[in-house]
Structures are given as structure tokens and as C-alpha cells.
């Protein structure tokens, strides 16, 4: 069974915001609601990294766990969606989510709330596939058209990958093998020490296999 996931390869993300713009346009997301954002760390210094973040469609979703009206559900493909007609706009999901995925239209000092909105993996919501009603409330249903989320399909560098978790994990693994991972692999330094080995690309030895395969 498919288990839909996103991976953003921080080695490739160039902070172009193509994913953000694509999502906005495809789903006609109103001003102030940001289903997807690109976060840049260490801007302007060696080791600058960007990563595109939206809902991670967690297997054990904290938003779902805390919702007092149980408006969340998970589809057979692992996509976490919610029913806006049930949502009471309490904001608990927003507190619970480590990625800031639940969005509320902002207004004034304390916000306006209203119905929570978030990334749907371009899978719409609880309404007939591709219907007018579904588009108005939740945006596009690309999965039902046999397509993947527009953010990943538009990514200019294919940093952002979307699809079945095993499939895209394989793609990333292929990529890492080609470009040489090891100590420079994303996050290795933080997890296993030698943090400076991770942040200086110039320290990478000239990869001998790269010329042949690329």
C-alpha cells in the first residue's frame, strides 16, 4: 500500500520558492496562509542551507492526537487530511505540530483563526474527487488525477520529492550514492559529531566517480 511522504533534500534546495508559489497558485491559497514555506538557515555564510517545509503527513500525527473534535483522518495512502466543517478553529493542532503546518488566517494582534488550513498533499479533502466544493474548501485533488503534489513536481532542482515513501527514499539514496555521502551526508555531523566536517563542502575530496556517471 502506498504511504505518501515528502522529502526535501537540503543539499539541493536553492530557496527559489517555486514550491511555495506553485502551491499557492494551484490551490488558490489566500494571502496570509502558507501551506508551504522555505526555511533558510545560516543565510549568507558558508554552510547556508534551505529546506522546504509543509505538512509531513506523520504516521502518528500530533495534530490528529490533540484535536478535540477529531476532525482529522488519514487516508489509505497515509495522507493526513481534515474536515473543515467539523473544525472549530481552536488552534490546538497548530501548537502540537512541530512543523507549523496548520495555518490560520492572521488578523490583528491575536489572530482571527477560523478554519484551519494546511497542506493536503494535493489530495483535496472530504468531498467528491475534483468537485467544485472540494476545490473551494481544500484546493486541488491531484492524487485522484494520477498526479503528485504540485510543489514537488515544480521543484526546480528536485530537492523536494513527493510520492510513496519507499519510492522517494530510493531516489534519494541513489542520489546520495552518486554524489558521495559519508561524512558529508545531511545531518551526519550533528548526529555523530565532527560538526565542521558536515558544513564545509570544500572539504569534500574530489569525487572520482562523478565525472563518469554525470
Amino acid at each position: 500500500m502506498a504511504r505518501m511522504k515528502f522529502i526535501c533534500d537540503a543539499e539541493r534546495c536553492i530557496n527559489c520558492n517555486g514550491c511555495v508559489t506553485a502551491c499557492k497558485n494551484e490551490n488558490e491559497v489566500p494571502w496570509g496562509v502558507n501551506r508551504r514555506r522555505v526555511v533558510t538557515m545560516n543565510e549568507g555564510v558558508p554552510g547556508e542551507k534551505s529546506i522546504s517545509v509543509a505538512c509531513m503527513h506523520c504516521s502518528d500525527a500530533p495534530c490528529m492526537a490533540v484535536c478535540p473534535v477529531s476532525c482529522f483522518y488519514r487516508t489509505a495512502e497515509g495522507v493526513v487530511l481534515h474536515d473543515k466543517d467539523v473544525c472549530i478553529g481552536c488552534g490546538y493542532c497548530s501548537y502540537a505540530c512541530p512543523f507549523g503546518a496548520p495555518q490560520f488566517p492572521a488578523n490583528g494582534e491575536f489572530g482571527l483563526r477560523g478554519k484551519m488550513d494546511k497542506c493536503t498533499f494535493c489530495a483535496g479533502g472530504p468531498a467528491p474527487n475534483g468537485s467544485e466544493e472540494q476545490f473551494k474548501e481544500y484546493g486541488r485533488d491531484r492524487l485522484a488525477e494520477g498526479k503528485l503534489p504540485i510543489c514537488a513536481e515544480m521543484c526546480s532542482t528536485k530537492a523536494l520529492l513527493a510520492g510513496d515513501g519507499e519510492v522517494i527514499a530510493d531516489i534519494l539514496r541513489d542520489r546520495v550514492l552518486h554524489r558521495g555521502g559519508g561524512a558529508e551526508l545531511w545531518g551526519w555531523g550533528t548526529a555523530y559529531g565532527k560538526a565542521d566536517a558536515q558544513s564545509a563542502p570544500a572539504a569534500q575530496p574530489a569525487p572520482t566517480t562523478q565525472g563518469a556517471s554525470s
Binding site: K24, W31, A206
Partner: protein, 692 residues
């Protein structure tokens, strides 16, 4: 920077001597100059980059070949822009990287079809295809257009037809400069902004004065653009010509019309119309045809075009016809093989092209049975000869490893055959693959063909057309056909690339400080050029401005540079009207280093006044970041609609103002122009910041 790399390359013997001996002229003089002047200390002083780093870069270039250099405006928007570009070419020649797949010097164009526009359009010193404006060029085009040469000549004031005109960067001086100093009869009195925004040009204060002085100002654009508001806003220091007439003509976007477009890699694509022209907009070519009608030469303009009904049933040139006329005209850079048919076939069969080499691997077009094998996607120019010749396009220029009919080439013989007693032609044995002539040779004309005994390979019709002509003016394409197909030679000759450009102000690139520099000591050591009395019809100052501003650092201690953002494009009015993009960049800003900000009590998000030597003061938001160092601030140029702190929203036509307005950095930028191209010096001027 390049002189520094060259120093290390020459010092360590890393240059490709065989390549230089075979294909380059003048490198020995460059080597002398570099080794004498550009030791690591000199380098650090000019660039701020230390010797170890420049050595490491040189070593990296040497050990990883081929390498390529890519730039946009960073190299060109300086008074020495032409020299910087030249230096990158010299570096690549020294390394033997030019004419190699993965090598070369490559310009990354800033906008869709800028390349195409430059190739066939608006250069004030040239007819389409870089033919120039000499008599021979006009005669060639008169023949192509099918109009009488004398008639065209008669439409120009005496002496103007062959005189390069004014550049867009100086239009304001064309209006404002006292008439006796302008190298043409009257000043500029009318100006058309055709798909162009005012805020991408420097010296906004002067521009407002010029805009107010005009008799006629026309904006042709899908959006009214900043021009509309800038023209309408009141200004005390810019007297308004009471007779000034301003017109806004709505033009279509690229989606509302079809046509060919050229990308940074010289490939052409054919675009289809996806939506009918909206509102009252008309296509650019319809507007052009209608304007020509009003001015009395409409018939001549569209003589060779099929006219088709467009918006509202009004007739307009068919875009295929326009491309076909270009195909018949532009032999120089090979815009002749890319017929509408071939381009459309490519567009229908994109999947057969290998994404790395851009070459078709087999493929037969279903509709026409055309075989695509071996063609490069989009037939990148030069695609020589007639479409019937089926030249595949040229992926990489000057590549001797390929036959000319496979997209191969060599350096052109454009500058004569000898200089200073040395031959400018390529060395014996240096030629494109399979060429019948294995030594250097000049460019081809009917005379040379006869000498070689190849003249009879032309058909009778081709002979008639080509006699007395050269490969660039032969309307049959026969010379090109025989030279390339029958003999695998290159029509533009086989010569050496020049490392020394004798017709440039500095034949070997030298460093010269910008007109507004924060280093008076460097100005003394590396002064700018002498003033030019007449340059592209206008007096152009260098030394005077630099001398006047030698101590400018005392009042304006920060280097101000400007450039692009991902979210916006050009003048920005169109993209700032897009809600998705506008939300991503809501304010005009200045990137400030934390130390610079702290010295001025500026915090993140504060409004800041940026002042420059022009007297302008613009108000932008501070973005504190390490992305700029302590000596530099960066402001993106895409904003408009604020003017020195004032909001101009009310001056836009009703409902047509973009979502996001902001200060245009070019309201405040200063005088300074490249000594060969007249490109504005937008990459380096000076400013001061203060918290608002």
C-alpha cells in the same frame, strides 16, 4: 579576479600551450602583462581576495577541465564591464576551455527571449543579426525587405542612417543634454517604452526631468508599468512640458500570441497562443504594423508577411511570416535554418532529445515524417544555411572536435588575416573535424570560392544570387551550402581568437576604479578613462566625475550594489501584481551587515533612508544579514511606486497599481557607463544609511 588566476596559471605553467599556439593570438603579451602586474599582493588590493584563495581557485580550474564561467550582470554593469568579460574569455582561452563541451564563457540571460530580442532587435548600432549599420548592411536588408535602398536612405536625416544611435541607458541625456553637445540634429523629443520599465535604468532623478521634458511619451506594455506613475507624479524640480502627450497602449503577454523565442543557450522554441488577447490589448506586431501605417510606411513593413485577422478582426502579420523573413536575412549568426516548420517539429517531439547532449536520438515526426536524428533541440544558432540544408544547430560554439555539419566550428576570421606581422589565421592542422582545408582560412565570398575552384558546385540560380557577395549577403545560401556541406569548412573562416583586442580602450584588460569609489588611494593608482566628447552621440564623462568624487567616501562610505530577486522580474510591475509572488517579497529592502546596522542603531525591519551622491534619498526596510560584508549593501531593483518616501499609488491608472509598491533603487543610482558598450555602472556606487 581573472588576472589573478591567470597569474597563477602562467606562473605554474598550467596554460594549455598547444591550444594557444594553434588557436590564439596575442597570449604572450597578456602573459607578460599579467606576470608583471598581477602578483598576489596587487590582486588582494583590488579584489579583497587573498593569495591563497586565488591560488586554490586557479589550481581547481587547472585540475578540473573543462570548466565554464557563467555570468549575468555581475561582470557587465561596470565602467570596465567589457574588460571584465574580456578577461574571463582570456582565462578560458589560456586554459584551453573554449570550444569544448562543458567549457566556454556563458551569459545567463535575465529574461525570457532577451537573447532573441538582442539578436534581431533593438541595438542602436546594428540591424538584426549584428550586421551593423554600414551601407552594405542596409543594402542587404533593403534586398531582404524588398524595398528600395534609396527610399530607406531618404527616410533618415543626412548622415544618420549609418551612425550608431543612443543607448537606452542614456536616453535621458538625449533629452536633457544641451543641443550643441549632442551628435545629432535635434535632441530626443519622443520616447516609447515598449515592454520596458524605467526603474531598471539609473539616475531616476534625472529621468523624471527627462520624462517631463518630452513631447511624447508612449508606454506599450501589458501593465501600465512604473512609467505611468512616474510620468504622472508631480515634481517641483522637473519642469513639465505643457505639450507633453502620454499614451498607454495595452500589449498582449506572451500567452496571448504565438511566435519563436530564443533562450540563453541560443536554442529557439516555438510558442503557441494559449488564450485570446484580453481586455483591449493587441499583440506587439499588430501595434507595430498599425504604428507603421500611421507613420506612412505600413505597406513596406508588412510587404513580405501574410496578414491574418487578430484581435477584433484587425489584421496583423502572421508570426510564422516574421520568422521566415528573419530566416532569409540573418546569415551572420545562423538564424536561417530555424524555419517555423522545423521548430514546430521539435516542439512536438521533445521527448526524443537527450537531456544531457540536447541531441535527438532518432525520432520521426508523425505529422510530417521528418527525421529528427542528430538535430540539437531548438536548432541553437548558428543553424547555418537554408532550412533545406538541415544544419542541426550548434550546441557549443567553436568546437573543433565536431564536423561543421554536426554543429562543430572554430574561431572566426572577423578581424583581418594578419596583425603586427603575425597571422591571425589558425595554425596549420588546427581546424574543425574533417575540414577540406586543414590550415587557417579567411571568410568565404564568391571571389574565394572561384579561386578554390568550388564556384561550379553552386547551382545556376545560386551563382546568379551569390556572385559578388560574401557568405553573409548571399541571398541563396549557396556559398554556405557548398562550403559546409561539400567541404566541411566554416563560412566565417578559421582564425585565432584575440587575446589582445587592439580596438578597445585597454587592449589587455586593466583594472580601473569605478567612478564612485570608497578607496581614494585606489582611484589614484587605477584611475578611470578620459572623458569622451562624443560616444554613442553623447558626451560621456569618466575622469571628470571620478575626480570630482575622489573623497566621496567621507560622506557616502558604503558600496551600494543592486541586482535581482527570484520572485520578481525587471521593473517589477508585472510580477508585483501577482499575489503569490507579492506575498513573498512585500517590501523594498536593503541588505545590511549586522556591524553596519549596529553602528547606525538600525534593527531588523526598521525603515532606513538610503542616500547617494545624486541627492536622492530613498526609504527602504532593513534586512540584517551576513550575506553582505561590512563594506557593502544590496538593494533589489525590481521595486517602484514609491518616490523618496512618497507613495505613488494614486498616480497609477485606476485599479492598475501592483499589489506591492516600493522604492526603486535606481531613483538614487549614479552616473557611470561602460567605456565600450555604454552599459550603466549599476553594480557599484556609494551610499549612506540612516535610521528613518
Amino acid at each position: 579576479m581573472y588576472k589573478r588566476q591567470l597569474y597563477h596559471i602562467f606562473k605554474n605553467g598550467w596554460e594549455d600551450q598547444d591550444y594557444i599556439d594553434a588557436r590564439v593570438w596575442g597570449m604572450d603579451k597578456v602573459k607578460e602583462d599579467v606576470l608583471a602586474k598581477w602578483n598576489p599582493d596587487a590582486v588582494k588590493e583590488v579584489s579583497g581576495v587573498d593569495g591563497d584563495t586565488t591560488f586554490a581557485i586557479a589550481k581547481m580550474l587547472h585540475e578540473n577541465k573543462p570548466g565554464t564561467i557563467v555570468w549575468c550582470m555581475g561582470q557587465t554593469q561596470h565602467t570596465i564591464g567589457h574588460a571584465i568579460v574580456r578577461a574571463s574569455c582570456i582565462l578560458q582561452l589560456a586554459l584551453g576551455n573554449v570550444g569544448k563541451s562543458g567549457g566556454g564563457t556563458n551569459i545567463y540571460r535575465g529574461h525570457d527571449n532577451v537573447q532573441g530580442a538582442t539578436d534581431v532587435g533593438p541595438n542602436p548600432d546594428s540591424l538584426p543579426g549584428y550586421y551593423g549599420v554600414i551601407d552594405g548592411a542596409w543594402k542587404h536588408y533593403a534586398a531582404v525587405w524588398g524595398v528600395d535602398y534609396e527610399w530607406i536612405k531618404g527616410r533618415f536625416a543626412p548622415g544618420m542612417m549609418t551612425k550608431p544611435g543612443m543607448t537606452v541607458s542614456r536616453w535621458i541625456d538625449g533629452v536633457l543634454t544641451p543641443n550643441d553637445m549632442v551628435d545629432q540634429g535635434p535632441n530626443l523629443r519622443a520616447h516609447i517604452f515598449w515592454g520596458h520599465a524605467p526603474n531598471s535604468q539609473t539616475r531616476g532623478l534625472d529621468m523624471k526631468k527627462a520624462m517631463n521634458k518630452l513631447d511624447l511619451l508612449v508606454v506599450i506594455d501589458p501593465y501600465p508599468s512604473a512609467t505611468a506613475a512616474m510620468a504622472a507624479m508631480p515634481a517641483d524640480d522637473a519642469p513639465l512640458n505643457p505639450n507633453r502627450a502620454v499614451y498607454l497602449l495595452p500589449a498582449t503577454t506572451q500567452f496571448e500570441t504565438s511566435g519563436s523565442v530564443t533562450a540563453s543557450n541560443r536554442s529557439l522554441q516555438w510558442r503557441e497562443k494559449v488564450i485570446e488577447p484580453m481586455f483591449e490589448s493587441r499583440t506587439d506586431h499588430m501595434i507595430m504594423a498599425q504604428l507603421a501605417d500611421r507613420l506612412g510606411f505600413g505597406k513596406e513593413l508588412v510587404k513580405n508577411y501574410k496578414m491574418v485577422p487578430g484581435k477584433g478582426g484587425m489584421m496583423e502579420p502572421e508570426t510564422e511570416s516574421i520568422l521566415r523573413e528573419i530566416n532569409r536575412a540573418v546569415w551572420t549568426i545562423g538564424y536561417t535554418g530555424q524555419s517555423p516548420e522545423r521548430l514546430k517539429i521539435h516542439m512536438r517531439n521533445m521527448h526524443v532529445f537527450d537531456v544531457k547532449t540536447l541531441r535527438a536520438r532518432g525520432g520521426i515526426d508523425k505529422e510530417t515524417g521528418y527525421k529528427l536524428d542528430g538535430e540539437y533541440f531548438g536548432l541553437p544558432w548558428p543553424c547555418y544555411g537554408t532550412p533545406e540544408l538541415r544544419h542541426p544547430g550548434t550546441a557549443n560554439l567553436y568546437d573543433t572536435s565536431l564536423n561543421v555539419m554536426e554543429g562543430g566550428g572554430n574561431f572566426r576570421a572577423n578581424f583581418g588575416v594578419e596583425r603586427d606581422g603575425q597571422s591571425l589565421l589558425a595554425a596549420d592542422g588546427s581546424c574543425s573535424k574533417g575540414a577540406d582545408i586543414q590550415t587557417g582560412y579567411p571568410e568565404f565570398d564568391s571571389v574565394l570560392l572561384k579561386k578554390l575552384g568550388w564556384w561550379n558546385e553552386l547551382t545556376d540560380a545560386e551563382k546568379k544570387a551569390a556572385d559578388g557577395k560574401n557568405w553573409k549577403t548571399d541571398p541563396s545560401g549557396g556559398i554556405i551550402r557548398v562550403v559546409m556541406k561539400n567541404h566541411s569548412c566554416h563560412p566565417f573562416g578559421n582564425a585565432r581568437a584575440r587575446a589582445v583586442v587592439w580596438n578597445f580602450p585597454d587592449p589587455i584588460p586593466q583594472h580601473r576604479e569605478p567612478l564612485y569609489s570608497v578607496r581614494p588611494d585606489m582611484v589614484v593608482k587605477y584611475p578611470t578613462y578620459d572623458d569622451k566628447k562624443t560616444f554613442w552621440r553623447l558626451p560621456t564623462l569618466y575622469k571628470t566625475v571620478q575626480d570630482q568624487n575622489i573623497d566621496i567616501v567621507k560622506k557616502f562610505p558604503l558600496i551600494l550594489t543592486s541586482g535581482r530577486l527570484v520572485e520578481y522580474e525587471g521593473g517589477g510591475d508585472e510580477t508585483r501584481s501577482n499575489p503569490w509572488l507579492a506575498e513573498l517579497q512585500q517590501f523594498a529592502f536593503v541588505q545590511v551587515n549586522p556591524a553596519v546596522a549596529n553602528d547606525r542603531n538600525i534593527r531588523e525591519g526598521d525603515d532606513v533612508w538610503v542616500s547617494t551622491p545624486t541627492g536622492a534619498r530613498i526609504k527602504v526596510r532593513a534586512r540584517i544579514t551576513e550575506a553582505v560584508d561590512r563594506s557593502t549593501v544590496f538593494i533589489p531593483f525590481h521595486f517602484a511606486g514609491h518616490w523618496q518616501g512618497k507613495d505613488l499609488r494614486q498616480y497609477y491608472p485606476e485599479g492598475a497599481a501592483p499589489i506591492v509598491l516600493g522604492e526603486a533603487v535606481n531613483t538614487a543610482t549614479t552616473y557611470g557607463y561602460d567605456a565600450v558598450t555604454m552599459m550603466q555602472e549599476t553594480k557599484t556606487t556609494v551610499c549612506q544609511l540612516e535610521r528613518a
